[in-house]
C-alpha cells in the first residue's frame, strides 16, 4: 500500500468547505472564550485566546492558497466557482472575527487590573452571547446550505445594534458619574464595538452564503440602526 492519496475535484471542494467549518469552529470558540475572559476576569484564558489567534491566521492563508490553486488548476465553473469564492470570502471574515476576539481578550487584561464593574461586564457578556449565536447560526447555515437560515441572521442584526447603543449610554452615565472609571469604560466601549463588528461580519458571511447558493448579490438595504 502506498500513502499517496489522489484527490478528486469534488473532494477538493469538500475539503475547502470543511476547512472553512474548522475555522468557523475556532472563531466561535475564540469569541466565546474572549467574552468569558472578560466576564470572569480570567487572565490565563485571555492569554490563550491571544495565542490561538495565530492558528486562525494560518488557516485563512491555507484556505486562500487552496482556493487559488483550485481556480488555477481546475477552472471551476458556476456553482463550483461560487463555492470557491464564497469559501475564500468567508474565511477572510472569520479571520477578521478572530482578530476582533483577540482584541477583546487583550483589553480584558487591562480591565482585569481595574476595579470589577460587574453590571458593565454583564452587558458585554449578554452582547457576546447574542453575537455568538449569530455566528453559530450563520455557520450552521453554511454547513447545511440553508438560505432562509442565513437570511434570518442577515435581517436580525439590529438587535446587536440595540445592545450596543444601550451599553454606550450606560457607559456614558458611568464615566460622567466617576471620571476614574473612564479608562476601563473606554476599553469596555471598544469591546462592545468589536462585538458589534463581529455581528457585522456574521451578516457579511450570510451575504456570501446567499451568493454561493443563488449566484446573486444581496443588495437589499440591511435594517440597520445608526451607531457610533
Amino acid at each position: 500500500m502506498n500513502n499517496h492519496i489522489v484527490r478528486t475535484y469534488g473532494e477538493e471542494l469538500d475539503q475547502l468547505s470543511a476547512e472553512v467549518m474548522l475555522m468557523g469552529g475556532l472563531a466561535e470558540a475564540q469569541v466565546a472564550d474572549a467574552v468569558e475572559a472578560v466576564a470572569r476576569r480570567d487572565v490565563a484564558l485571555a492569554q490563550s485566546v491571544i495565542e490561538r489567534d495565530r492558528k486562525l491566521d494560518e488557516l485563512e492563508r491555507d484556505v486562500e492558497r487552496k482556493c487559488i490553486r483550485l481556480i488555477a488548476l481546475r477552472q471551476p465553473m458556476a456553482a463550483d466557482l461560487r463555492k470557491t469564492v464564497a469559501a475564500m470570502k468567508i474565511a477572510t471574515s472569520l479571520e477578521r472575527t478572530g482578530d476582533l476576539a483577540k482584541n477583546i481578550a487583550k483589553r480584558s487584561l487591562v480591565i482585569a487590573e481595574a476595579e470589577p464593574m460587574s453590571p458593565l461586564t454583564r452587558s458585554i457578556e449578554r452582547m457576546g452571547k447574542l453575537v455568538s449565536s449569530r455566528l453559530r447560526d450563520v455557520l450552521d447555515a453554511y454547513k447545511s446550505g440553508k438560505l432562509d437560515m442565513a437570511m434570518a441572521v442577515w435581517s436580525s442584526d439590529t438587535e446587536v445594534d440595540e445592545h450596543y447603543n444601550a451599553l454606550f449610554r450606560e457607559l456614558l452615565t458611568y464615566m460622567m458619574g466617576d471620571p476614574r472609571t473612564i479608562s476601563a469604560c473606554t476599553h469596555i466601549l471598544f469591546m462592545a464595538k468589536n462585538l458589534e463588528r463581529i455581528g457585522d461580519h456574521a451578516t457579511n458571511m450570510a451575504e456570501h452564503i446567499h451568493y454561493e447558493i443563488t449566484g446573486e448579490d444581496y443588495v437589499d438595504d440591511r435594517p440597520k440602526m445608526s451607531t457610533l
Binding site: N3, M21, A32, S133, E159, E162, A166, L167
Partner: protein
C-alpha cells in the same frame, strides 16, 4: 449450504444411467431397452427440472455471513446494533494523515449521535457536524497520538448544553491506511445545571435576604431597647416588620420557583394550556388590587376553550400573572392595562414596530423558529423604560434606575421567571416602550438622531411586553385579518 442442492439435481440422471447400463449388460441387443432408456431419461429430466425450479426459489445469501464472534449471542444482535441502541452519542472516526485537518470522517454514528449533532445517516465529515476545537483536537490526539482522554465542551443557544467527550484510539490491522478512534459523548447539562443553580441560589438568597433581615434585626433591637414601652411606635414597627417578613417570604418563593424552572429549562413541556382561560383567571385575581389602585383592566382575544397550546398550564398562567403584576405596579391611577391575545402570528408580526419612536428589543429568541405563535401582550401606561435599560430587564434583581414601583415592592425576579418559562416553551419575549426623554444631555454627546428622536409635544408613555408561545399548527385555515398594529 449453496453447493449441496446442485449435486442432488443430477442424482436421478446418474442413477437412471447406471440402471440402463446394468440392464444393457444383462440382456444385450433387446429392443425394449431403448424404451426403458427413453423412460429413464424423461423421468430424470423431470426430476432435475423440478429440482432446479425449487433451487431457484431458495434464497442464497449473497453476503458473507457474520461470524459468530461479532454477535453478542448466536441468535442475538450484532455489535453495531447494540451500539446504535446506546442512549449516549457514540461515533467512530477515521483519519489518514495528521496534517490533513479536514480529512476526518465519521464512519459510524449511533442513533443518539445522529439526533444530537445532525449527522447524516451515512456519516460524513467530522468537522461539519462537530466543529468544536477542543473535540477536534482530542480526536486528533486519539487518532495519531494514541492518547485517550476526555474533554468538556459547551454548545450555546437559547438553551445552553454541556457535554463531555471521551476519545480513545481503536486498534487497526497492521499496515492499514486508516486510523480509527472512538468518540463517546455524554450530555452533562443536568449535572452542570444543578451545580450552577446551587451556587446561584446561595449567592442570590444570601445577598437579597440580607437587607430585609438587617431591617428586621434593627427593629427588634429598637423594640427591646428604648421603644419598649412606646405603644404607638411598637405598632408601627411591627407593621413594618410584618411587611419585611412578607417580602422575605415572597423572595424565597420566587427564588425557589426560578430554580425549579431553570432546572427543567431544557425539557420541553408536555400538557395543554388555554391562554385565554389563563388570562381570564389572572384578570379575576387582580381585579380587587386594580380597583384599589384605580386602574382598569381590559382583556381582548379569542374566547376561552377553543385553542390549546402544548404547554405547562401553571407556567403559562405565571407568565401572564407576572406580566400583569408588573404592569399594575407601574400603571398610574385612572389608566388602563391592556391584555391582548392573538393567534396565528409569525414572530415578525409579533415584534413588528407599532410606534416608530418606541424603543424595542427582543429579550429572548428561540433557536429554531416555528411558523405560528400565540401572542400575549400586556401594555401599561406607566412612565416607560428608557432604551438603555431594556437589555438588562430580564436580569435577576435588576431594577430600572429611578423607577418607583410603589408601596408593593417586587422581588426583582418576576421578569427573569417569565423569560425562563418562555425559554422552556421555546417561545420568544420582547419589550417595547416609549419613555420621557432622559435627563442626560444627549444632544451634545450624540449629535444625530440615531438614539433618541427628539420629542415633539407631550409624549404618551407606555411599556408593553410581548410573550410568544409556539402553536402546534395554524388554527384558522383562512388568512386572518392580520395582526392589529394600531394602538
Amino acid at each position: 449450504m449453496a453447493a449441496q442442492p446442485r449435486k442432488r439435481i443430477f442424482l436421478p440422471l446418474v442413477l437412471g444411467l447406471l440402471v440402463l447400463i446394468a440392464l444393457a449388460l444383462m440382456s444385450p441387443g433387446a429392443q425394449w431397452l431403448v424404451w426403458v432408456a427413453v423412460g429413464i431419461l424423461a423421468v430424470s429430466l423431470l426430476v432435475t427440472y423440478s429440482e432446479l425450479q425449487r433451487h431457484k426459489n431458495t434464497v442464497v445469501p449473497d453476503v458473507v455471513p457474520v461470524p459468530e464472534r461479532v454477535r453478542v449471542q448466536p441468535e442475538g444482535p450484532s455489535f453495531q446494533e447494540v451500539l446504535r441502541a446506546i442512549p449516549d452519542p457514540v461515533m467512530i472516526v477515521s483519519g489518514i494523515e495528521p496534517n490533513d485537518i479536514a480529512g476526518r470522517w465519521i464512519v459510524f454514528a449511533n442513533t443518539a449521535a445522529v439526533e444530537a449533532f445532525g449527522i447524516a445517516k451515512e456519516g460524513g465529515l467530522l468537522v461539519s457536524s462537530l466543529r468544536y476545537p477542543e473535540v477536534l483536537e482530542a480526536v486528533d490526539e486519539a487518532l495519531f497520538g494514541n492518547i485517550e482522554r476526555d474533554t468538556v465542551f459547551e454548545t450555546s443557544g437559547a438553551q445552553d448544553k454541556f457535554w463531555r467527550a471521551w476519545t480513545s484510539p481503536l486498534p487497526v490491522t497492521e499496515g492499514g491506511l486508516r486510523r480509527l478512534a472512538l468518540l463517546v459523548i455524554r450530555d452533562e447539562t443536568d449535572i452542570r445545571r444543578i451545580e450552577r443553580m446551587r451556587a446561584d441560589f446561595l449567592a442570590n438568597a444570601s445577598h437579597e435576604l440580607r437587607t430585609p433581615l438587617a431591617s428586621l434585626t434593627g427593629f427588634i433591637e429598637t423594640l427591646r431597647g428604648h421603644a419598649k414601652d412606646d405603644l404607638k411606635a411598637r405598632d408601627k414597627f411591627l407593621n413594618i416588620m410584618a411587611s419585611q417578613a412578607d417580602r422575605m417570604g415572597r423572595l424565597i418563593q420566587d427564588l425557589l420557583s426560578l430554580s425549579r424552572i431553570e432546572m427543567n429549562e431544557h425539557v420541553p413541556p408536555s400538557g395543554e394550556a388555554d391562554i385565554s382561560l389563563c388570562a381570564r383567571d389572572v384578570m379575576d385575581s387582580l381585579s380587587i388590587l386594580a380597583q384599589e389602585k384605580g386602574v382598569s383592566l381590559s382583556l381582548s382575544g379569542p374566547p376561552p376553550g377553543q385553542y390549546f397550546l402544548t404547554a405547562d398550564r401553571d407556567q403559562v398562567l405565571q407568565v401572564v400573572q407576572n406580566l400583569s403584576d408588573n404592569a399594575l405596579k407601574y400603571a398610574p391611577a385612572g389608566s388602563t392595562i391592556d391584555i391582548e391575545i392573538f393567534n396565528d402570528c409569525t414572530l415578525e408580526e409579533a415584534f413588528g414596530a407599532r410606534d416608530p419612536a418606541a424603543a424595542k428589543l427582543v429579550l429572548l429568541r428561540p433557536d429554531q423558529r416555528g411558523a405560528w405563535y400565540t401572542v400575549v401582550r400586556v401594555t401599561d401606561r406607566g412612565p416607560g423604560i428608557r432604551r438603555e435599560f431594556l437589555p438588562r430587564l430580564a436580569e435577576r434583581f435588576y431594577r430600572v434606575e429611578g423607577q418607583k414601583s410603589g408601596d408593593r415592592l417586587g422581588t426583582g425576579l418576576g421578569l427573569a421567571i417569565v423569560k425562563h418559562i418562555i425559554n422552556r416553551h421555546r417561545g420568544a419575549l420582547g419589550v417595547e416602550s416609549v419613555a420621557k426623554p432622559s435627563a442626560l444631555a444627549d444632544k451634545d454627546l450624540l449629535p444625530y438622531g440615531g438614539l433618541d428622536v427628539a420629542p415633539t409635544g407631550p409624549v404618551e408613555t407606555y411599556t408593553s411586553f410581548t410573550a410568544c408561545f409556539p402553536q402546534p399548527g395554524r388554527y384558522k385555515e383562512s388568512p386572518t385579518v392580520g395582526f392589529v398594529n394600531a394602538r
